[in-house]
Amino acid sequence: MTASLFSRLDQHQPSNLDSCSIRLNGIEHQVPMSMSVAAALLYLGQRATRTHPVSGQPRAALCHMGVCFECLVTIDGQQNQRGCMRSVTANMSIITTSQSLSE
């Protein structure tokens, strides 16, 4: 992972938003709750969401509103979920590389 290109606006203010623990590609992180999965990835410095099935190149979310389908990640074992349409929840597992069909 690289340094994040984004920072939280409320960083230095007491926040009444809880944070929660999630696992991104196997590694545990604390992220503010109610952030979208796609936003959380940016916050953590994960700049690519997936590998494109045709070009093999990395891709990342373009629209953050559900119409570009670039933010497809595996959430809690379910593959190809739009990360921008889901909020992070406690103990969520997010995987950003393309995943084979789970049984």
């Binding site: 290109l5 606006l9 926040s15 936003a39 940016l42 494109h52 373009l62 953050h64 389908f69 909020s87």
Partner: protein, 461 residues
């Protein structure tokens, strides 16, 4: 037994909320479905939960969503958040809408529908736009509104009021804007002059727009008349190259936000076979409407940016008018006061659309942006380039639908949302046909994702 709603509204943005309020207070059985966790649409996204600091950055217009939201939450309509509508089709009692809610497909039946699912950004297909580090200005706003995220350094590129607004908001929040690349062609300013009259009918908005526009030129590294934008980098964005007055520039950056205005999301209306028409001023397809948002299909209305784009205020008024039209349908008698209110609202909406004409013409995308060339990716989902599409168009295919069959462009998960418009432009250019005659991509379910298991096992309502 499935209950049948009198009015099913898809979308809880300003249009949907206003419609829900109006129709439910008039005594109709109303259901509002929305895909987000809280109401507000995109423009008022997360307005119920944003912090003081966020609202300071976003500005006072954003705060206007709060009283509307409050009124909506207090209204006697059924409201289902986190519902992703994936199918919409005629039904014996009107229409049936299937939505994925909490992992299960649930169907609703209603005699009348209001499609208020808003707009999306016009896809701005510049070379390298598919690299990580490129997103839309709208995405920047969503990240700010819903997740309180700000970039550290950013290049903004494109044209339109939203781009200028975002630049202003970012500056106020301390974000370093490395450069603002304005692609608005100089000729647009000349062509927009006759429309200043329309703009003057809304002096506050006009003044604000002009001020925003001028302010950016002073306060951030601003480039006007930008063409030939190329985003370069290996596995992510490293720099943006562009041309101004024949001179080539390169600005190093890891983040580029693009914007070329917004276009209505027409898929739901298309799924119901509502006639579409090409709007030359807005340079996009829109659902053809008569009075109060009535589409070509009886029982189906559109309101807000899902129809003719016009912003939050207009959306709210249109939502209310559409609901009033629905109420009129059920009531045999309507008072003089109601009739007057309806006419006044109708007139105001027409006036606001006329005023909008200035924005539409001033910020029309430059022609070079509508017709990408060479290796520029046009269909992101299936990695189909402009050159591949042009070749097939030259071989004489009938239109974008046949082009899709031959190239796979439009067959990926986004179902042509990011490429449809540009496919049309390319065909129109190569085959020398007007856009109005190049039929748009046909729409098929699912309108949003659903897996086979969920489809196979719908939930009983």
């Amino acid at each position: 037994m499935t209950q049948i709603y009198d009015y099913l509204v898809v979308g809880a943005g300003p249009a949907g909320m206003a419609a829900g309020i109006e129709a439910s207070h008039a005594g109709l059985k109303v259901l509002v479905l929305d895909q987000a966790a809280t109401a507000g649409g995109q423009i008022f996204r997360n307005v119920s939960h944003t912090s003081y600091a966020q609202q300071q950055v976003l500005g006072s217009d954003y705060g206007l969503g709060k009283p509307l939201l409050k009124e909506f939450m207090a209204a006697p309509c059924d409201y289902q958040p986190l519902a992703q509508v994936w199918n919409i089709e005629p039904h014996a009692q009107g229409f049936t809408v299937a939505a994925l809610i909490d992992g299960r497909s649930v169907s609703f039946v209603a005699s009348d529908l209001l499609i208020a699912n808003g707009a999306m950004e016009r896809p701005m297909a510049v070379a390298g736009w598919e690299k990580p580090g490129v997103m839309t200005a709208g995405a920047g706003q969503i990240l700010l509104k819903a997740s309180a995220l700000l970039p550290k350094k950013v290049v903004l590129a494109g044209s339109g009021p939203l781009l200028l607004l975002l630049a202003h908001q970012y500056r106020a929040a301390g974000v370093t804007i490395t450069a603002l690349l304005d692609t608005t062609p100089r000729s647009n300013y000349w062509r927009a002059i006759p429309w200043l009259i329309a703009g003057l009918s809304m002096p506050k908005q006009l003044f604000k727009g002009v001020w925003l526009s001028l302010v950016q030129r002073i306060r951030v590294p601003y480039f006007a008349n930008v063409t030939d934008i190329k985003i370069v980098g290996n596995t992510q964005v490293a720099a943006v190259r562009f041309i101004v007055a024949g001179k080539e520039y390169e600005v190093p950056t890891n983040l580029v936000l693009l914007h070329q205005g917004i276009v209505g999301q027409t898929q739901m209306a298309q799924a119901l076979a509502c006639k579409q028409e090409w709007s030359d001023p807005k340079q996009c397809w829109q659902t053809q409407v008569a009075e109060a948002g009535q589409t070509s299909v009886p029982g189906v209305h559109v309101a807000g940016d899902a129809g003719a784009t016009g912003g939050a205020k207009l959306a709210q008024l249109e939502g209310r008018l559409a609901a009033m039209a629905r109420v009129k349908k059920s009531c045999t008698h309507s008072s003089w006061a109601k009739k007057l209110a309806y006419l006044a609202l109708s007139w105001r909406i027409r006036q606001l659309h006329w005023a909008r004409g200035l924005v539409d013409r001033l910020y029309q995308p430059a022609p070079w942006l509508s017709t990408p060339t060479g290796t520029t990716v046009v269909c992101r989902c299936e990695q189909v380039s402009a050159a591949q599409i042009t070749d097939i168009a030259k071989a004489g295919c009938a239109g974008v639908n046949q082009l899709k069959a031959f190239s796979r462009a439009g067959m990926g998960p986004c179902q042509g949302r990011q490429c449809g418009l540009n496919l049309g432009y390319l065909i129109a250019q190569v085959q020398d046909r007007p856009m109005a005659q190049v039929e748009p991509l046909s729409v098929r379910p699912p309108l949003s994702p659903i897996n086979l298991g969920q489809l196979a096992q719908p939930s009983d309502v």
